[in-house]
């Protein structure tokens, strides 16, 4: 037994003075290697890095189509004149509407309330009276305000159809003042190219936030939950080594994902790419600093995967989706919200991305944005190192 005991472990060594408390590249590489092994073995990595961008692109590219398709409306015809019947027929013949006709508002009001129809077009009594004099008679359009988007579309289409009908019958009067409606109608009809490009490009920002912020904060919280953090902290490892080791694999993973998104955007969705790959790379790297910084900060504050994912959603994902300007125009937001967008890193990313795809390399625009992103990144990393003490308490 004793002989075997001597062989079991090498004899204790005294401590070497040089090998402690300094940032050690070998330990960093050991931790990074471990992280890459784990990342490559975790199926969720592939889902997030490869499948998620695909889904987002498909969703934003095809799903979020601003074209209406067929809309169900109610048509109340209270007038028996030939003109009223003719307009009613136009609605029936339209490809945009599926019409439910009635004699009185009461009959179909309930459908509007219940959401079966999005709008109600009323051709009022006395509609035909002005027609012989060449006047375009008014109609009433009632929409379901609880679904503002659908309501606006339906109202726009219905009014546009009436204006067309009036123009076809040569009803001049009243048309001029409704010219604006026509303009608006065009705005609704042809947005898809612009909005689809913008959405596809925006999804790249979303992917970076998901990998950089959410994934990073989750994997660190997991180390706390599984107790491996505790064991690592009892080794000579420094906190900074640990944090950097987490950054490296997710930085690489994000870049792979961005490349995939870009290729898909250009090949499948026909998004132009007028800038240079170099510019895209620099912009992406600049944005990954605050994205990873936020992920690290979250994980420094919480040690629990559930809280980390909630915090990541609220502070990273949602602001990027809603306030970065790719889904909703920042200039059309109320000023307090506009003010808030200035502290959302993605706000500085989206214009640069859009420019690099749609316009080309405009370094005069990129540089201030990159500077802002690097500034955010530095601030978040600074906070992380301040907060992250080497303690279990």
């Amino acid at each position: 037994m004793k002989a075997q005991a001597e062989a079991s472990v090498p004899p204790p060594k005294t401590n070497r003075a040089g090998d402690r408390e300094k940032f050690d590249v070998r330990r960093l590489s050991a931790m990074s290697r471990k992280e890459i092994l784990q990342v490559s073995r975790d199926p969720s990595t592939y889902i997030i890095a490869l499948v998620l961008p695909l889904i987002l692109l498909l969703l934003f590219g095809y799903g979020l189509n601003l074209d209406m398709g067929t809309t169900r409306i109610g048509l109340v015809v209270q007038d028996d004149s030939e003109a009223a019947q003719s307009l009613a027929a136009s609605y029936h013949n339209s490809d945009w509407f599926e019409v439910e006709q009635a004699r009185s508002v009461d009959e179909i009001e309930v459908d509007l309330v219940s959401g079966n129809i999005f709008a109600m077009v009323v051709i009022p009594q006395g509609f035909g009276e002005g027609v012989p004099r060449g006047e375009a008679p008014p109609i009433q359009i009632v929409t379901d305000g609880s679904q503002p988007n659908n309501a606006t579309f339906a109202a726009g289409y219905a009014e546009g159809l009436r204006a067309n009908w009036a123009a076809g019958r040569g009803l001049e009067a009243g048309q001029a003042e409704r010219g604006g409606i026509r303009t608006e109608e065009r705005y609704w009809f042809n947005p898809e190219l612009k909005s689809r490009y913008s959405l596809v490009i925006g999804s790249i920002a979303i992917v970076m936030v998901i990998i950089g912020t959410l994934q990073t904060s989750l994997v660190i919280a997991r180390e706390w939950e599984r107790g491996t953090m505790e064991a690592m902290m009892a080794t000579p490892m420094r906190m900074s080594e640990f944090l950097v080791s987490k950054v490296v694999p997710y930085f690489i993973l994000s870049l792979v994902s961005i490349a995939l998104c870009t290729v898909l955007a250009v090949t499948v969705f026909g998004v132009p790419f007028r800038g240079s790959v170099m510019a895209l790379f620099v912009i992406s790297c600049a944005f990954l600093l605050p994205a990873l910084g936020l992920g690290l900060l979250i994980s420094a504050v919480t040690k629990n995967q559930f809280v980390a994912s909630q915090a990541g959603l609220l502070s990273g994902f949602l602001p990027t989706l809603l306030l970065s300007g790719f889904l909703y125009e920042i200039s059309s937001m109320p000023w307090p919200i506009q003010a808030i967008t200035y502290i959302i890193p993605a706000r500085y990313l989206v214009p640069s991305l859009q420019t690099v795809f749609m316009a080309g390399d405009v370094w005069a625009l990129f540089l201030p944005n990159i500077a802002a992103l690097v500034g955010f990144g530095a601030l978040l990393l600074f906070l992380t190192f301040r907060v992250n003490r080497r303690s279990l308490a």
């Binding site: 079991s8 005294t14 090998d19 931790m31 000579p236």
Partner: protein, 575 residues
């Protein structure tokens, strides 16, 4: 006398927001060449103390010196194995070792030799490329140890290395640590098992952050020498006699050991049974005390024998039928059989134990019987209700106390009681009576508005029991009910259970605590998904003695190990 590798004085640890200090002025010294035990129930402050030594926490007050400096200055000479072993489950055995070798700065030229030695030492060479998550509990424990030893430390801190690990692996680990100690390493071993404490050269006994005792364990047991006796050969029910004995003023503690009763007196143990009003046939024999006796003595003795809970409980008239029946219960998950062909019958008014290490299949069997898992094959019945056809009725007739604290931690004690009364469908009047009674019986009156999650473990366990018996079920399922609680709380718990059984309640209990097994009328030993032995505690011990005749007065643990080893030998022969 070895060299001092860690010492602490007047340690106080106060966590933000905690009512009570985790450590209250603790002093400790760890020397090389011996195993220093850090012993105490959950929440005693063991982990906090070890973390302070590992420089993972800074104490609020007091001084600490580790390896001749402040904690953290000599981390290369410190080995630390946290409670969950600190392994990466998605890395293989060798990858885990490599990671730790790199992190601890072991020169690459030494890797091959060190890994080979450690894998041999831990008998893991065959599993080099197996993922950490796929190892058994005992293997994880050994790999955790290997990782902590990758660069030979001068101080090794082990935080409950043996919890939840089967007795065979526990003994192997102990042997490995003894080897290391002989090589001149200082080891601090924390444990909730008092039998492990007994084997340490020096023991620090913590309870609620206070140091109750430090020194050689024999010093503590010497305090109660001559005060322990075993009663055998008595007539009648052992549980009733135990209750009677515990209610005596001169008996401060008593436990069942199969058909015998072990008693601790507050004075020298009487030698004649007549003093205790025992019948003429019973014998009394003085026995050497154990560490636990000394511990209980220091804590001022265990609870009295009469259970107020049982007194108020309805009498269950079970009749001749059986309360719980398992017929060929089998559960497979994919190609893994978690429980294979479990067969047993439990009559009314008995305690039946499922005994075995973690992952053996106890909980799976248990969950099938309480309707939480559907068996792949076989059938079962609880209180005459077939699980397959009358699941809800079967569930209604049982009370379930889960292994982990499964009450709502965010709700107050009263809200939990209200919730469970509602969940069991008690009427308003019944619920009020049941809750009032539970508050009185379990002494919950002072903590009604506290969040259940913040209470000390002993209180949580009382509350769990209170909720499980709210509807006075005829059958009670207890899954590792007293893991981690201090011995006094464990006694109190078993006093209630014994009382309930006398009222006709049937109890099915899973445990890996061998001493709890002694309370059972019958035991099934479960090992690697199979039922390998069945019988009363005394029968199992007798069988173990037949298997290895060298055993003198075997404990339940000895019996377990002997039966498991016999099984392993039989399997090996077959293969």
């Amino acid at each position: 006398m070895g060299e001092t590798v860690a010492s602490a004085r007047d340690l106080v640890m106060r966590f933000d927001g905690a009512e009570d200090d985790a450590l209250k002025g603790v002093a400790l010294t760890v020397e090389t060449g011996q195993i220093t035990g850090l012993v105490g129930p959950d929440g005693a402050g063991k982990t906090t103390l070890i973390r302070i030594l590992a420089n993972l926490l800074s104490p609020t007050e007091g001084s600490v010196e580790v390896l001749g400096g402040e904690p953290g200055t000599n981390r290369f000479d410190l080995g630390y194995m946290p409670q969950r072993f600190g392994l990466y489950e998605d890395l293989s055995v060798i990858e885990n070792l490599t990671l730790y070798a790199r992190m601890r700065g072991l020169p690459k030229s030494e890797w091959d030799a060190v890994f080979a030695r450690l894998l041999d030492f831990t008998d893991l060479a065959r599993f080099k490329s197996r993922l950490g998550g796929k190892l058994s509990g005992g293997m994880k424990q050994k790999l955790g140890l290997a990782c902590a030893l990758v660069r030979t430390p001068r101080l090794l801190l082990l935080d409950e290395p043996s919890v939840g690990v089967d007795p065979v692996s526990r003994r192997e680990l102990w042997g490995m640590i003894e080897q290391l100690v002989d090589e001149g390493i200082g080891v601090l071993w924390s444990t909730a098992y008092l039998d492990e404490a007994e084997q340490c050269e020096v023991v620090y006994l913590l309870n609620h952050g206070e140091l109750l005792f430090s020194g050689n364990p024999s010093e503590l047991t010497d305090e109660v020498t001559g005060r322990v006796a075993v009663v055998t050969g008595f007539e009648g029910r052992r549980r009733r006699l135990l209750t009677r004995m515990l209610d005596r003023d001169d008996v401060i503690d008593g436990t069942l050991q199969g058909r015998s009763i072990r008693l601790l007196f507050d004075r020298p143990a009487p030698s004649e049974p007549i003093v205790l009003d025992l019948d003429a046939d019973s014998q009394m024999q003085s026995v050497p005390p154990r560490f636990e006796d000394g511990f209980i003595n220091r804590l001022g003795g265990g609870p009295d024998g009469t259970s107020e809970l049982a007194r108020r409980y309805r009498t269950i008239l079970g009749g001749d039928g059986c309360a719980i029946e398992a017929k060929g219960l089998t559960k497979r998950f994919g190609d893994f059989t978690a429980a294979d062909n479990m067969d047993f019958v439990i009559p009314f008014g008995k305690i039946y134990g499922l005994l075995g290490p973690n992952g053996a299949g106890k909980s799976t069997t248990f969950k099938m019987l309480c309707g939480l898992l559907t068996p792949t094959e076989g059938s079962g019945a609880v209180a005459g209700h077939d699980l397959r056809t009358a699941g809800p009725e079967a569930r209604r007739s049982l009370g379930y106390m889960a292994q982990k604290f499964s009450l709502y931690g965010d709700l107050s004690v009263r809200q939990n009681l209200n919730f469970f009364a509602g969940a069991y469908g008690l009427s308003r009047g019944e619920a009020r009576d049941a809750i009032d009674s539970a508050i009185e019986v379990f002494g919950l009156g002072d903590s009604l508005s506290r969040s259940a999650g913040e209470m000390p473990l002993g209180y949580k366990q009382r509350l769990s029991l209170a909720c499980a018996v709210m509807h006075q079920p005829p059958v009670l399922f207890l899954d590792e009910p007293t893991s981690g609680v201090d011995p006094v709380a464990r006694r109190e718990f078993w006093t209630h259970i014994n009382g309930l059984v006398e009222k006709g309640v049937t109890v099915l209990v899973t445990t890996h605590f061998m001493e709890e097994a002694e309370y059972c009328d019958d035991i099934s030993l479960i090992y690697r998904s199979q039922l390998i032995a069945q019988g009363t505690p005394d029968e199992l011990k007798r069988r173990a003695q037949e298997l290895s005749p060298g055993l003198q007065a075997p404990t339940m643990e000895d019996a377990f190990i002997a039966l498991v080893e016999d099984r392993d030998a039989a399997v090996e022969k077959a293969a």
